[in-house]
Amino acid sequence: MSTPPSVLEQRVQQSPANEVTVKFEDVSIAFEDKVVLDGISFELLHGETKAIFGVAGSGKSTLLKLALGLLRPDSGRIFVLGEEVTAMTEDQLFELRRRVGIVFQESALFDSLNVRENVAFRLYEEGKVSEEEIDERVREALSFVELEHTVDMYPSELSGGMRRRVSIARTIITHPEVLLYDSPTGGLDPVTSNTIIELVVKQRDIYKVSSLLVTHRLQDAFTMATHYFERTENKMKELPPGARTEVPFSFLIMRDGRVIFDGDLGQLRETKDEYIREYIS
């Protein structure tokens, strides 16, 4: 597989460490009197991956959609890449959204377009990219998810796991600075979900992408917290014991619309909260 483009490496180096990429400030939203998020605050640092947990219907997907401005909160402020999403018009948001990628829970591929057109969607929208370059980059993105052979197929001809991976390819083709994954391993077999976990870890460790990752599976998050991507061998490897805090990975647990835990693996293991202890056991 290819090494990251040099432009990207430059950008990564220029970005100061500990810069906040995504910030929620006391965000609340209700759907028809049903309060879903009730004063959510957290920060995602540059290069960090934060796993978001919560029971079904706790508002995880809603949270990701809020970050992109696809939904508007009832109160609170949201910042992404230094811009205040909650104060921007839809037109202004289109610009910002080009720098952020989201992988939807149900993939949300365009079913009237084939895989190539889906993956190349952003490139076509930007115009000014030649057909050869599009071909090249589609191949690159699809090889990243190991699906080069599906390029002429339609979404309806793919399996759920393949759709999920095509959707990841569509999102990363322009190398966004922030990635939002909504349950990328949900309902997948262990082998496929491991491939996806590896992709996420690769985005984090090689491309230094900041991401929010919604998941139901604590096990997946533990894997990400305890593994790193080894560039020379081009695969994910377990961190030696004692080095566990070195990968930028954190956990955020939601309950009843509030954040009940936000911290790294070490802090999670030491927590005294009954609910969380039960959750992680």
Binding site: R97, R98, F104, A108
Partner: protein, 261 residues
């Protein structure tokens, strides 16, 4: 339809909201024409779908509407012994009224439903959200091309329908009333004045706008899975058909007040 009991004030609020949403879609679809990005490929694709796709039914309905109109007018005119006026009646009827309305209703049935179901499915499968997330404005990429191509195509389809209606009328009047076809065509042609043609061609522009905006509005506001999409599709056809017929009345009235007669 859902049988849901809601308070009258809630109902009014919902209706006001719908009108607001519709107005927003309708006005944005026009405003987007004046600024980029524009989606030419999407527009021509839609034009092809609406124009070519509707051509066969427009040819058939136009022809038989004209023929039926000629039969009815002919039998009435015969009583007064002035069957030679048949060309004028068919011509005025087709160009001012039936050509635009029949074409509008046909395209509404075919394309307003198509747009509502296509956009509706995209809403319920989050494809619209995905499009927004990928930095593309669905109003520009989906709605404006549909409005532009429906207006353009309906304009030309109506002209075709008018001609086929005249042809159908010509065939019927020579077949059943023995009217000389040369005489039929020349009287049909001579009776038309500027205001008839203007009214006849202003209507498809409005109807095309109604069909596309109503179709897209119901599609974009679809909620509740496949059933919701089905409901949106039906409502789009019903609403656009009713609007076409109502607007037709007012345009006719307005045009007569403006130009006299």
């Amino acid at each position: 339809m859902d049988i849901e009991l809601i308070s009258p004030s809630e109902w009014v609020k919902q209706q006001v909201k719908s009108v607001q949403d519709y107005t927003l879609i309708a006005s944005r679809s026009i405003a987007n024409l004046f600024t980029g990005p524009r989606y030419l490929a999407d527009t021509t694709q839609q034009a092809d779908l609406i124009g070519w796709g509707s051509l066969p039914i427009i040819v058939l309905t136009g022809f038989f509407t004209g023929a039926a109109l000629a039969q009815n007018s002919g039998s009435t005119l015969q009583r007064f012994g002035s069957v030679t006026l048949i060309g004028q009646l068919v011509s005025l009827g087709m160009v001012r009224e039936l050509g635009p309305v029949i074409t509008g209703l046909m395209v509404a049935g075919r394309n307003a439903s198509g747009m509502a179901s296509e956009l509706g499915s995209m809403v319920v499968t989050e494809q619209i959200d995905a499009m927004r997330a990928l930095g593309t404005d669905p109003m520009r990429k989906l709605v404006t091309p549909r409005v532009l191509s429906t207006v353009t195509m309906l304009f030309f389809l109506t002209i075709i329908s008018d001609f086929l209606g005249l042809a159908g009328g010509g065939v019927a009047s020579s077949l059943f009333f023995g009217v000389d076809s040369h005489q039929y065509w020349s009287t049909a042609w001579q009776i038309l004045v500027f205001q008839d043609v203007f009214m006849g061609l202003a209507k498809p522009v409005l109807f095309g706008f109604i069909i596309a905006t109503v179709g897209c509005y119901y599609g974009i506001s679809a909620r509740g899975g496949t059933q919701g999409v089905g409901r949106a599709t039906t409502q789009a056809v019903v609403a656009s058909s009713i609007l076409i017929i109502t607007v037709d009345f007012f345009v006719t009235r307005l045009s007569m007040t403006l130009f006299g007669q």
